[in-house]
Amino acid sequence: MKINLFPALILLFCLFEPCLELSANSPSALIQKPELQTIIHQKVENQRSLIVSRHDVIDGLQKKLKESKLDSKSEKVILNQIKANQKIVKSFEDKMQCYLLAQTLTNQIQYLPNYKESKETKRILSLILKIDRNKIHYKEAKKDYSSLFNQGMLVNYIPEYDCKLEVTQDGKVKANQFAQLFSFTPAELEKHFVEQEFLETYCRFLKSGKKYFLELKFEFGTPKAIQLYGIIEETSPLKLTFIDEDYIYLQNAVTAPPEQQIKTGKTVYKMQCNISRSDFKKLSKKDVDKLTVLWPTGSETYEMMKLHVFQNLSKCIQIKN
């Protein structure tokens, strides 16, 4: 039997037209995207002019080297200046490449499903912040952020993840390798943490029999973390907020004090939480947006950089062999 679908399609279009209009007039469509594009465009142009002016300096130095009769010592000084400026140009070019990547990503946002749009805008903003603070190189940025270009991601974004498991000798306990969750440096500490972050956070799942556990590792780039954050209590809760604003609470079950690494100067905290089946299911299906930790000195909420980490880890830990 043949069914003529055309009238039904027209009806469907009419029904959904108001939604389409609404989405086109949403604040993100009208304000945020063009603003973001303008901001990035300005940053790219600024970077371009910085590169040009630095090239001018190099040209001037090269001209001086050719035209003036210099003794070998002065010549060496100028050559070193040229080298130093070329190095600066390279870093400027790398930074511009990063901004160009952010610009391309911004242009791609419109092709994302609506529910991903604000999250991806957030990700791009965090990328821009990292570029501004010289905390990311193009190679790294491309690896971490360019997966947006994959056609697949535009519909369902779960980047590739290298699944590696550790198993105890008796085979009873399985664990993922630690995966990075986010890094964080408070604005007021940025000048002290140029080469590294103040806090790097990693996580993994552990599986023992049918029980799942979540292990979190907080690495503070300072030996004074205990004075700043205290010692996490055994029953201290963790709140994981999903992208749809649903959330779960987990409870720390470890009393161990943080480990102070003398060699690296780091302080490492570990939390281990028992996870119920339903919470594990949520973690394996939904993007986690925020993590709130109740430190003895107050609670702190961190924005996730990699929303899919828990999904990847959960898939990996469930592999049977």
Partner: protein, 201 residues
């Protein structure tokens, strides 16, 4: 091995009497009403801070969203009361807060009074957080435990904000010394207050 003092929630010098959480179960309407007014007072205090110190930009920027959050909490407690067919009672005398208020400086410079106000707010948030933690761990009803976990985390964030604001506007050493004085004073008050199941503090 760590001393109990280190493990007390948010550094409070005296943990709450464990009988308190048991008593709350028998007077849910009263404790929820009292809780609602605690949130209302927190929001009002934040508004007053902004009115008194409009020239302190960081204070205004950080405290303003807390007004919204605390008022949101007030509404959450009201809806919890409604859900259970319970009514918001009248506001009652807050012995705990009134006692601590005696410790804050009345005279002295305006700046010194700000330090005490910020620390007073931090202290009330810290004690509230500790009480919410007890409720979130010990109440028999899962929904209520979840309800209080949410507040606990939020209050701990506010506590941190007030301490950080104090350390932003005043010398860190001065803040820490005064904070210890507040904690000692508060421990004495808590020790003397009879645990009541119809009061948050």
């Amino acid at each position: 091995m760590h001393s109990n003092k280190e493990l007390t929630t948010l550094g409070l010098h005296l943990p709450t009497d464990p009988r308190w959480v048991d008593l709350t179960q028998y007077s849910l309407e009263e404790i929820l009403s009292d809780h609602a007014y605690c949130e209302q007072k927190a929001a009002s205090t934040c508004i007053s801070l902004i009115q008194m110190w409009p020239d302190k930009t960081r204070l205004v920027d950080e405290v303003a969203p807390v007004v919204t959050e605390e008022w949101g909490h007030f509404r959450l407690v009201i809806s919890e009361l409604n859900k259970r067919g319970l009514k918001l009672g009248f506001q009652r005398k807050d012995e705990y807060v009134n006692s601590i208020l005696q410790f804050t400086k009345k005279g002295g410079s305006k700046e010194d009074r700000l330090l005490d106000q910020l620390l007073l707010c931090a202290l009330i948030e810290a004690r509230s957080c500790e009480r919410f933690k007890l409720l979130s761990e010990n109440l028999p009803e899962e929904n209520l435990r979840e309800f209080y976990r949410h507040f606990m985390i939020s209050e701990a964030g506010h506590y941190r904000m007030f301490i950080e604001l104090a350390e932003h506007y005043f010398d860190q050493k001065k803040v820490r010394t005064r904070w210890q004085e507040f904690l000692d004073f508060e421990a004495d008050i808590v020790k003397d207050l009879k645990p009541r199941g119809d009061r948050m503090h």
